[in-house]
Subunit: 248 residues, 2 copies
């Protein structure tokens, strides 16, 4: 049964998928009719864990989530950040056991959608399957970009790259603008995402501030010199495929 809260949640999903590839009215309505239960999460609270075999997907409604892997001696690698509209564990639809964990990076609200319902949706609307597939492929494109950063970019460039990426992703869902966006992450989070230590993140951040490229106060990032930040990062936004719909 649809209810107001879910309508809101699923409208966010419709909007995201529509931006990825375009939906028909029937598809839109079918998505809005998906069953969903919402939940409020505290920072660091796990949503699914490495090894789990989930039977539902998670749609981020408010706040940020992140995927991560743990290694021995407390080492952690963050694999991705997710913002409202994202379905970070979409892959669980076809890969049954989790090879990493997913948690709330901040206080967050998420909606859970049963796999059954999604499979049914996909069967009835092959085009929706294509859109979701495409979403997972863009996810992979971001992984490739992060890999390239960790392997071949300096800490400075890598951090600049992450900021460019998050800014554009947020802007695409109207959560950023005028070179200003939320960045509700601790320096430890940044470190685990960039493959650095928090101490070095602190120093690199200082350097970025020092060269006048950006300001980071509280949980707000202000990019003071976008072009220079892009240049320092060797950032090319095509991999995000944000304007795909218009380009088709």
């Amino acid at each position: 049964m649809p209810n107001p809260a879910n309508d809101h949640a699923l409208a966010l999903l419709v909007r995201k998928l529509d931006s990825i590839a375009g939906l028909s009215d029937k598809e839109r309505q079918a998505i809005l009719r998906l069953p969903a239960t919402t939940k409020v999460l505290q920072p660091k609270q796990d949503i699914v864990r490495d090894g789990d075999r989930p039977s539902r997907c998670c749609l981020v409604l408010e706040g940020w989530a992140c995927r991560y892997k743990l290694l021995s001696e407390g080492r952690r690698q963050i694999l991705s950040f997710h913002i409202p509209g994202d379905v970070p564990d979409l892959q669980s639809l076809h890969i049954h056991s989790m090879d990493h964990s997913l948690c709330a990076a901040t206080k967050a609200v998420v909606a859970f959608i049963p796999h059954d319902a999604l499979r049914d949706l996909i069967n009835r609307f092959p085009n929706v399957a294509t859109v979701l597939w495409r979403d997972t492929l863009i996810d992979a494109a971001v992984f490739r970009q992060w890999m390239t950063g960790m392997g071949r970019r300096s800490a400075y460039a890598r951090m600049a790259h992450l900021f460019c990426e998050m800014y554009l992703k947020l802007e695409a869902v109207s959560l950023a603008g005028e070179h200003r966006c939320p960045l509700p992450l601790t320096q430890t989070d940044l470190a685990d995402a960039l493959g650095l230590t928090s101490v070095h993140v602190n120093r690199t951040l200082k350097e970025l501030r020092g060269s006048g490229l950006l300001t980071l106060r509280g949980s707000t990032l202000v990019v003071d010199r976008w072009d220079e930040l892009v240049q320092a990062a060797e950032f090319d936004p095509t991999y995000l495929h944000l304007e795909q719909r218009a380009a088709e």
Copy 2:
């Protein structure tokens, strides 16, 4: 029109997809009837380049291929290695412009399958779409593992991890066994895959040899102590989802 050479090529694809999720007879036959043209490639020869908008996918038949990104000053990051049976650019079906390049890592033979034919196949057999989707998801799982290595593993562990991974992937298609497999890569290739310099790869390799874990002569890797290699790498093979069919 099917011909003997293509039958061979597509049989390899059938086998790979079948191992991923299981196919019906009709699906098998439809795949075998796909049009394909084969081509012999020299080492380092590009198959598709960053920025291209390909209209066909590439199936590796013999030899190895690799995907990579180039940065300024000749920096290169290898994103993945591909062996016979793999379709390294499957994502091009839904992401129209390449965000990285694909080339032959060794002398290789590949088959090209037009996107049109694949789309038609997918429309007629939704289950095949699921299998292909699943294949791209496993691809992404490998990216996550590589990211984790670059961010949080030492050069030694990272290299050990790569060897474990390649051994199991080759074994799954009967190209390895008895702790012995081909590894037709230069130290520079390894360096670009691991985010290291070739000098350091050389020294790390020496260390791995020195601790008696493996032998690498010519283009053949012999794992002398599998368990210790796995341990050094903190390697857990579940992310490869190799035995999925049996597990379902």
